[in-house]
Symmetry: C2
Subunit: 233 residues, 2 copies
Amino acid sequence: MGDSVKSAVRPAVKVPPGTLPFAAAAVGECEGRRPRGRPAGRCATRDDLVQAGIGIFTEQGFASTGIDAVLREVGVPKGSFYHYFASKEEFGLAVIDGYARHYDDKLARQFGDARIAPLDRFGGFLVEARRGMRKHGFRKGCLVGNLGQEFGCAHEMFAKRLAAVLKGWQRVVGACLREAQAAGELAATADVDKLAKLFWIGWEGAVMRARLERSSRPLDIFMEFYLAQLRPT
Amino acid sequence: MGDSVKSAVRPAVKVPPGTLPFAAAAVGECEGRRPRGRPAGRCATRDDLVQAGIGIFTEQGFASTGIDAVLREVGVPKGSFYHYFASKEEFGLAVIDGYARHYDDKLARQFGDARIAPLDRFGGFLVEARRGMRKHGFRKGCLVGNLGQEFGCAHEMFAKRLAAVLKGWQRVVGACLREAQAAGELAATADVDKLAKLFWIGWEGAVMRARLERSSRPLDIFMEFYLAQLRPT
DNA sequence: TGCATTCCTAGACGAACGGTCTAATAATTA
DNA sequence: TAATTATTAGACCGTTCGTCTAGGAATGCA
């Protein structure tokens, strides 16, 4: 189907010419096949795969993306893939983790920025999101939203992981709202946890709609409503 | 994967015993292969396929569902399928249409029910939705949301169709809101169109989240805040 | 009733995909 | 240098998906 022509197929591995391909990846200690321990050291190839996975899954979803597409993008053969990941499913989880890690940081920065009044941070978040979606031609949404919709509760493991990620994001927004309360920007009686949850419920809906319509308008509409809710006139 | 044991495999076609299988379907005029004209007469087999498609796609999505799963559920061979639909894609569109037709009616009934005060109709809608999701163990969400997320803008045709369906639903809610204005339940200055759009943005987000968490709580949360928005204390 | 036509069923078929496997090559250690 | 480990390479297999061709059942017309 939509086999866009973008796969510019990098030259196998990106290293200075003259260097043998293998030299690049083998520097850091890569995690072998399913390392029982959590963290695992950085590994260029593995990270590249995860990175590519984020991009492709965010755009096309999980089920309709073949491993081969990821492989092609990174310029890596299948053997490497199954050296790092036991299965497509495990890869999917790693991609979620990678995305979550990236976003946790980003959100912490945006919603924890002490230089800005708590409720004004939402505006900054909106601007950033709008720019991000426009940059990708509204083809990419939110990976968590995509996979959440795709698997619903079907895939136990995925659903749990995704719900956990959302819960983390809620905590960040919740903290910001509490700051707003402390600063007198938000009513002390407001139910912060519920409001934080509401934010992500509506925001994911807005992102989805924005992608469908190729427009950032849904993001604006939801945010306008949400902020009005926080500070009633 | 999740090959649930539910496929009770109906006996080929459901007709009174003694009748030859073919007798059943051949009564109504079925639309042949891609009838240029719109409507097309009813056809049992075709309708069954669409019906099954609604159920399965709503639960598992489009990409990860094989035609075979639909076929098995209805008890029909592949040949029949490709007699009625030129491709899986065309089938998908027919399923969307079927779903939309069903929901248009349902929404018109719920949001147009003159016996109930306009804004109270939202409550009825919520109750109904909650019951529906619970009935299916929160495995099914909204087909439009599912496919919207799945294809984003990837599939031009699908995106257009889905956006149109949502626009229709917005009109229904919008009309209800206008009634509310006329009845003095909603401020005359309220931007009805924007509010109607907001409703479906947030609602789809809530349905998705409800499915992910297997809980109707997200539906409640969104509706609570949406109504608060309509009638500020 | 017989023939032509249309409608629908039946399942074989090729392509593609996910995943595995063996072999080869680089890095690391001794 | 030799032995060992880490990583790459891609052929290969079983399955599943969507398409397609062939043929049986019903219908219309003579």
